[in-house]
Every structure is written in C-alpha cells, then in structure tokens.
C-alpha cells in the first residue's frame, strides 16, 4: 500500500456455500483514480464489489482511507463512504425519483448538506429534475441508471463502485453516462468501474484489473492496449 491509496485490498476471498467465488484478490485504488475491473461473465467482478461492501461473508483485509472496513457490515461500510451502484441498478421502482434520491442520503441528518447534494445531482442529471415526482419504475433504462448513480451520489461517496452501469443500455446512452462518470472522476471522486464492455471502460480508466475465475489475472495499463486483438489475448490467455 502506498501513502496515496484510498482503497487497499489484501487477500480478499469470498464463497457462496462450497463455491469459492473470490480467491485472494489484491488490488488498490489511488487518490482520484478511476480503476476498471474487466473480465468475462462469472469472473467474480460483482462478487468483488459485494465483498468490498461486506454484502457477502469474506476473508482478507479491506482498508479504506487508512481504516479497516468492518466485515459483514454494509451499513458501516456505507457510513465510511464506500458507495455501491449495484448490478441491475437496484432502484426502487414503486417509489418516486425524489424518494429514491432521499433514500440515497439515508444516513445523512443535515438539511443543508442534503440540499447541496440534491442540487448537485440534479445539475449533473437535469433529466432527473423533470422526473422528480414520477415513479422510478416508469423511467427509461438510461434514466434509471442516472437515478441509481444520483442516488449513490446522495450518499456522499468517498469512492464510488459501479457494477456494470452499461447493462442493457443503448450505445448513445452508455456514452452519456460514462461521460458523466468521467466528469465526476475529474472532480476528484475515486471510482471503481466494473465493465464487460472493456473498450468503453479502458477509454476512461487510468488502470484496469482483469479478472478470471475469481482472481485478478492481470493489471493493465490502458495506454499499452492498442487494439482489440491485444485485449482479446488477455481474455483468452
């Protein structure tokens, strides 16, 4: 771990019953960095996100801003500022957009700070402002993803974990959302971006980890990946 690490993960393992889904993962995220996690289906990318937050039983160490993240305690991890935008967005369909955003700031008890974050989210995603009173389930896929990210920002993340934000979205919408993530990152927010669509993620990321059957197979410098063929070699070994 270097002095500038925001997140430092050592030997993180997780299992579902007898199946070992994550095996001794070592990784780190530096201040202001956007790190991509790539890999095929079933490589353990989502499990890694869930393990960082303590949503699954784990072994190993996760240090965040110099503090140990308690195991099996997502509420405490969230309070530390480790905020996850879950796979499939996890928005609350029967509630309005406004209610979803309010839920994002569930642990916040400061009206002025709430208003600041709320304004910031609506400035980032103006379309959500028009939809505040609308039921979240009636939003388009892209708007739902914006809501999921907006809700996460309401939680005041010190690092943002995104699990496949591009899932099921049209290319133009994906581009728009990734652009916003780039903006957030340039403002200093560290981000871990899980993506199957590697080329998209590599455009944004400073570093990338490639996962395969539950462990980190390689660390990639996006600048050195010049072609799809080269990337394919990583996947296929």
């Amino acid at each position: 771990m270097t002095a500038t690490s925001v997140l430092d993960v050592r030997g993180l393992s997780a299992r579902y019953g007898h199946v070992e889904a994550l095996r001794g993962v070592d990784m780190h995220v530096e201040v202001g960095e956007l790190v991509a996690i790539l890999g095929p289906n079933g490589a353990g990318k989502s499990t890694l996100m869930r393990a960082l937050l303590g949503l699954v039983p784990t072994e190993g160490q996760v240090r965040f801003c110099g503090r140990d993240v308690p195991r099996r305690n997502p509420v405490a991890a969230t309070a530390l500022g480790l905020i996850l935008v879950p796979e499939g967005r996890g928005i609350f369909a029967p509630m309005t957009v406004a209610e979803n955003l309010e839920l994002g700031a569930y642990l916040l008890h400061d009206g002025a700070e709430f208003a600041r974050r709320h304004e910031r989210v609506l400035a980032l995603f103006p379309r959500l402002r028009e939809r505040l009173g609308q039921v979240a389930g009636s939003l388009s896929g892209g708007e739902q993803q914006m809501l999921a990210i907006g809700r996460a920002l309401m939680a005041g993340p010190k690092i943002l974990l995104l699990d496949e934000p591009s899932l099921g979205l049209a290319p133009r919408v994906i581009e728009e959302i990734l652009e916003k993530l780039g903006d957030l990152n340039r403002d200093g927010l560290p981000i871990i971006l899980v993506e199957q669509k590697a080329p998209l993620a590599l455009k944004l990321a400073r570093r990338a980890y490639l996962m395969s059957v539950g462990s980190i197979a390689a660390e990639i410098d996006p600048r050195t990946v010049k072609s799809h063929d080269e990337l394919a070699r990583f996947y296929l070994g």
């Binding site: 509420v75 969230t78 879950p86 996890g90 609350f92 509630m95 839920l103 569930y106 939680a155």
Partner: protein, 324 residues
C-alpha cells in the same frame, strides 16, 4: 411516457380512489342511521381494517410474508378476555396488557425468524399461528378450550362504557381511521421509505446504509401491534372468544382482503377489508365452503388484477392511453 400524461393519470387515479372512499363513507353513515344487522357486519369490517392495515405494513410495504399474525391477535384477545372475566380488570387496562403481551411475543418470535427469507419465513410464521391456535384449544384451565370465554365486558373507561351498537361503530371506525392514517404517515416517513426499499432489494437497501434486520423487526412489531389491537377490540366488541376466532380462517380472510384491496398501497388494504367483510353476506349460502369461496376470489384476483382494487383506476387509465 411524458410527465404530463403521468400527472393526468395520477389525477384520474386520485379521483377514482376518492370516489371509492366517498362511497365507503356514505355506506358507513347509511348503516349508522338505519342500524340493524349491518352494524355488526361493519364492526367486524372495522376490526379487520385494523388487522389488515397492520399486516400490509409488514407484507406490503416491507415485502415480507406472514401467515402467523393471527397469533398476535389471539394473544392480545385472550389476555383481554381472561383478565376482564376472571380477574375483573378494567377492559382498557386488560387490552393494554394484551397488546404488551402480543408485542413481547412478536419480539421474541421475530428476532430469530426474521433472519429467514421467503418460504422459510412463511413456514415459520405459519407455525406460530398454528401453535397459538393449539394453545388456545389445549390450555383449557385458562382458555376453556373449544367452549371459549363468554361474558367479556364491552370497552369503556370508568362509568362510561360503549354499550350501544352505534356507539361501538363510531369507536371502531374512529380507531380504524386512525390506524389507516398512521399507516399512511409511516409510508411517507423515513421509516416507510426504508421499508419499501427493503421490499425492493435487500442488498440495495443495505448498500444505502439501511439496517435491514432492524427495520424488518420494526415492521413486524408495528404489524403485530395492529394485530393485537384488532384481537382485543374483537373480544370486547363481540363479548365472546373461542379458538376458531383466531384460526387459520383469519389468515385466509386477511390475505383475501389484502390482495383484493391492493397489497402495498396505502388505502388498498382498508378498502379490501371493507369489501370482503361484506362478501360473506353474499357467500353465506355456501356456509362451510366460505374459505373455498375466498380462495377462489383470491386466485382470480392474483391472476387478473395482481394490484388489487387500488390499482384498477391506473389499469383503466393506462388502457385508455394505449388506445389513444
């Protein structure tokens, strides 16, 4: 879908719901004025409005399953019955002790069982309801078994007691209305949003810092409170209690009300309780087959209108929009 269309649909839905509630209120007033047998039916309906509104907080808002809330009604009701008849304790005090008993039991039962999910939670709660029934049957020295306890005094404070059917109707409707208002308040509160979030996705809720286990227990306790209140009100309203009152039939009835009205909506549960309570007058000819009739209604509703009556206006308006 643009926002104008949705506001229009919301407006239409509100108008339709208001019309339904207006009709319900008019019916209550009509029965109050004309009196007769229907007053007793409405007593029963108001008590079930309370029971089902509470169950809706646990099953609708929070998305959990319980086949066992009849147990909390039974504990509270029997406590009230025994304390007033055998120890001559004031009905209000007895009912309060009954509620405390139901809540204590809910806490003891809820803490371990709420770690279970889906079918497992459903089975565990079913067991609780069956155990309560068996205890009511077997513990004859206290509950008088199948014979039941009669001569339970009506509600009242000091010298003022609710003896007339009309006064009882006013009291029960007022309590039921308070119960529905409280449920609406809960839905709009921070607590309510957390509960609905848990129903949506437990993991997503956890990832926002919501303590899922704690809030499930809170929802369980609130709904047990409503169940206990309904259980005590029943014995004092009817003056008699037997194990059958809180049997599996109560669960079937409550589920039918919940789904007919619209599970998870704020007022749907109450609406369902009101309408289904009036159905037995139609189903009375079936006598022993009443549960069968409820079951059939439940299946039809689940297939053709899973959102219940509360969702019908929305369904209509969305059909119209598709047509337009």
């Amino acid at each position: 879908m643009n926002s104008h269309a949705s506001i229009w649909a919301n407006g239409r839905r509100n108008v339709a719901l208001l019309a339904l509630w207006g009709a319900a209120a008019a019916f209550v007033v009509y029965v109050f004025v004309t009196g007769g047998y229907l007053i007793a039916v409405l007593h029963f309906a108001a008590i079930y409005v309370i029971f089902v509104t509470g169950l809706n907080i646990f099953m609708g808002y929070t998305g959990q399953v319980s086949f066992g809330h009849n147990a909390f009604a039974a504990i509270s009701g029997y406590t009230s019955a025994v304390l007033t008849t055998r120890y001559s304790i004031e009905p209000m005090a007895a009912a309060s002790l009954g509620l405390a008993g139901a809540l204590t039991c809910a806490l003891l039962v809820g803490y371990p069982t709420l770690r279970l999910r889906g079918h497992y939670l459903a089975m565990a709660t079913l067991a609780i309801g069956l155990i309560a029934y068996e205890v009511a049957v077997q513990w004859g020295s206290v509950t008088q078994g199948y014979m039941g306890i009669s001569g339970i005094p009506p509600l009242g404070i000091g010298r003022w007691t609710v003896t007339s059917d009309r006064a009882l109707l006013v009291l029960l409707v007022a309590i039921a209305a308070l119960g529905v208002l409280a449920s609406a308040g809960i839905r709009r509160s921070r607590l309510g949003r957390a509960l609905v979030a848990i129903a949506g996705s437990e993991d997503a809720a956890r990832a926002l810092g919501i303590d899922v286990a704690r809030y499930k227990l809170i929802a369980f306790l609130i709904s047990a409170f409503y169940a206990g209140l309904a259980g005590s009100l029943f014995v004092h309203a009817v003056g008699f209690v037997s194990p059958e009152v809180y049997g599996l039939h109560m669960v079937v009835l409550a589920f039918t009300m919940l789904y007919v009205g619209g599970i998870g909506t704020v007022t749907g549960a109450a609406l369902g309780a009101l309408i289904v309570s009036l159905l037995p007058e139609t189903f009375r000819t079936f006598s022993d087959y009443q549960d069968l009739a409820y079951g059939a209604v439940l299946i039809v509703i689940l297939i053709y209108a899973p959102g219940g009556l509360a969702a019908l206006p929305t369904l209509w308006s969305s059909r119209r929009k598709e047509g337009a």
